[in-house]
Symmetry: C2
Subunit: 510 residues, 2 copies
């Protein structure tokens, strides 16, 4: 009975592995012999516990590498915090698994901590990519869902939290790459069916609820194959579900599969790459750690996040920001000067031409000059209470710090930037539109936390936008030499905190 339930859980009847596991359960004596000569975690992992818990490696492999055939997950290199939380969840029954629940219950809190620390100290097996393939993949494939998401449903890409290559990130986001397909599939189904605790921000139940069986299978296969040869990409088809976005009825850019071939197609594709990997493809024009896609979600496709298809049909236009009519190309230059804190490519530069080509292609069929629903960021009504830094800090800690970090820098433990830095030297500068509170509030309300857009109240969005925009960031390139004068000239609006004093600091001052 237990075997049957276990097999159902992992969707893999792995008789050989079970034989080993059951043999280990029956031989607790091995434990006592070595418990004194090795750290507790290692002992339990390799020999089992005094209380009859079998050696973890019996199922999860001698080096914690997992067992793909059996669907047993890799443990090596998992973050200790995540690992320990899982054992606790098995122990209290909130995470269901007929094999692991009794084992975890049989361990003390101390033992669980020790085992978590042991496995987190082991290296992940070699061969796991930490970069996603840059080649185009079909937009209904596991690879696409994993690396691009499906934003018609506000479904973020796996890599947006689990890190490049799905290699795992911090304590909240475990590795996916190389985990057995059966294991990943079982976990997604568990979240979908309420069989696993929701975890931080309840992100995973939200994600899983938007995946159908084919999606889950495709994603699981994709990550199971990630450590293998690059040529071995998963392309199993998924059936996209009906769009759930607020603007489901609004303009839809063409699918990736419709991207044209030939020389024009190359320019479009290059534009998309620049948009998604700005530092990599247009590094000399970028002065921070952001990409275009950070503020234009789904690579410029998502409504209410400054979609490119809406921008393209809105230029030329007069902008009070610089007091003249701007072409689309000049508008793109503005992004480089301010949002990217860089130096704009000159007009006609292949970078601008490619971005314009990509935007034009995304706008295929959109009416020129049309006020297409979903353009820009939503304009939130003024908040009921005056937006407040302290309330914003609390919202930030609860909803944002998980990814962006308490320091707003979005780095992983290796110091790599994985989430967009929200302030400081590596963020947008004081000339960027996002530094204006109403813009940030609109963006946050519609799009944050990633995949959970619309879940914050308007007040929370205003408050947390105020918090974010109350931090120091790179100088406005139009700086006149005087903060007061620069504020008077460019920032004389309640929506800009530049030149105001927050927590005793004059924002914009060196």
């Amino acid at each position: 009975m237990q075997f049957t339930r276990f097999a159902r859980a992992t969707r893999c009847a792995a008789a050989l592995a079970m034989t080993i596991a059951l043999a280990a359960l029956a031989a607790p004596g091995a434990y006592a012999q070595q418990t004194q000569s090795a750290p507790l975690g290692r002992t339990i992992a390799t020999q089992g516990s005094a209380n009859g818990v079998p050696a973890c490696i019996s199922c999860h492999g001698a080096n914690g590498e997992g067992n793909a055939a059996a669907g047993f997950p890799r443990l090596a290199g998992l973050g200790a915090g995540y690992f320990e939380a899982q054992l606790a969840a098995f122990a209290d029954g909130s995470r269901e698994n007929s094999v692991m629940q009794p084992l975890a219950k049989n361990m003390s809190a101390n033992e669980r901590t020790a085992v978590a620390q042991y496995f987190s100290s082991l290296s992940a097996p070699p061969g796991i990519r930490t970069q996603d393939p840059s080649d185009a993949v079909p937009s209904d494939s596991g690879a696409w869902l994993a690396t691009r998401g499906r934003w018609q449903q506000d479904l973020p890409a796996c890599v947006q939290c689990h890190g490049p290559g799905g290699a795992g990130l911090g304590t909240a986001f475990p590795p996916l790459a190389g985990q057995p397909a059966a294991y990943i599939e079982a976990q997604l189904n568990a979240w979908k069916n309420g069989k696993r605790p929701p975890g931080p921000l309840a992100l995973m139940p939200a994600v899983a609820s938007k995946l159908n069986d084919a999606d889950i299978h495709a994603i699981a296969l994709y990550y199971a194959q990630q450590p293998q040869a690059e040529a071995n990409g998963a392309t199993a088809a998924s059936q996209p579900q009906a769009a759930t976005s607020e603007h489901a009825a609004s303009f839809q850019p063409p699918p990736e599969s419709a991207m044209p071939d030939g020389d024009f197609g190359k320019s479009v594709k290059l534009g998309e790459q620049i948009f998604r990997h700005t530092g990599q493809y247009a590094g000399k024009f970028v002065g921070n750690s952001l990409t275009c896609a950070n503020c234009h979600i789904d690579a410029g496709r998502k409504a209410d996040s400054g979609p490119l298809w809406a921008a393209f049909v809105s230029y030329p236009a007069y902008r009070s920001k610089n007091g003249h009519v701007n072409t689309f190309a000049e508008r793109l230059q503005g992004c480089f000067n301010y949002s990217m804190n860089g130096k704009a490519p000159p007009l006609g530069d292949p970078v601008l031409v490619a971005l314009e080509s990509y935007s034009y292609w995304l706008a295929t069929g959109a009416p020129v000059g049309g006020k297409v629903p979903g353009r820009g960021y939503p304009k939130l009504p003024a908040p009921a209470q005056k937006a407040d830094y302290a309330r914003g800090a609390a919202v930030y800690a609860q909803h944002c710090a998980l990814c962006h970090g308490a320091d707003g820098q979005g780095k992983n433990s290796n110091g790599q930037t994985v989430f967009p830095p929200l302030w400081g030297a590596r963020s947008f500068n004081w000339g960027a539109g996002m530094h204006e509170v109403q813009n940030a509030a609109g963006f946050i309300k519609a799009n944050m936390p990633l995949g959970l857009g619309g879940t914050l109240t308007d007040q929370e969005a205003w408050d947390v936008a105020t918090f974010m925009d109350s931090h120091e960031r790179p100088q406005d390139p139009r700086f006149t030499g005087s903060v007061a004068q620069t504020r008077a000239k460019y920032h004389d609006t309640p929506n800009s905190l530049y030149g105001t004093v927050v927590n005793g600091h004059l924002l914009g001052s060196p």
Copy 2:
């Protein structure tokens, strides 16, 4: 009875003027006294003829200035050829007028010639503008019809043949400015109702058939008021008739009345001015006597004549002409380099921004990337017979020389360019798209003669395009130093005559 018919013809019961006229009819004796002492034409004009024709000035004014109240047209400064042809038409009854028919019949051919020469030698009255107002006018006004036409119906503007300000042009196009409203109205009605000979190319019956009563009244009022103070513009409304263009169901750019205000509107308006008066508004970038609107009829609005609304939604695009992806701005630069035989404005120049703004505005509502019907020039099927210079020359003489002149230079008798020069130093250069026969044939078939698009056969269009493009014109700016090499590099197509020998001349050679 005769009085009643006359009044109906001119729609103005001018009792006083008639009294004078009838008095003159009754007093032929004045003629004999002076006939020996003055040239014949002057004598008849001022004193009447021996045969009882009264003095012309009795009705048409002492200096042939006409009588606005009575609706008697100005004769002074009319081209002798036109004048003589009208008297002949009255005489043979093909032009109906109950007063003029008996008088003209009563004159010998010699007398008619003499009178025509006399009045053509008199100066037109002062105050007639030779420029059209550059201010925007309502698109349903007489001023608009006179200066812009109504190209949904292939209705050209009056000024396109009658010259700037309607001041008259050559022997075929008499002045309109300052003619009595009643007279103009009567003539348009006469053409509409088959009461006046069709004239060159039967242009005027075609024009008049597209005007309703309100249009005719508005145009007549507009020209009647032309010599007066500039503030005195006519704005009588006309009811546009149903569009008759082949692409009536295709995209329609917004009406002039929808042009936006404010700074963006200024850029749009400037773009329109540049487009229509390119040498005046962007002179430093222009190297010939053409305007953008010469090849993009109705200021870039007309389908099948390279309409701007279709062009705007078609870029960025790869062009084999220069081997890379061109933005719309770069495409505009190409027009300056080749069609305008000039030097392109740099990217970002206000001239390009204004032209892009104007194009964008004209494209309002057009689908981005859409293959909108009417874009570019029509692609004609290959001609049944190989296109032929000699046949083309005959087509040209019959259908084109009227406006463009036998020498293709489009000048009036004062040496001013009034119609686009088709070849020679003041025309497009060897790099322009129009130098390729299939482009020229498509344009001509759809648009030429002006207002009579579609009347030439495909074969005639191919032949006359071949004739036009067999003439010398400014060098291709990409000239390598060798005609043969330049042909091999840029013109190696049966559609380009560059580098081929026509009538013993190597086209493209100095």
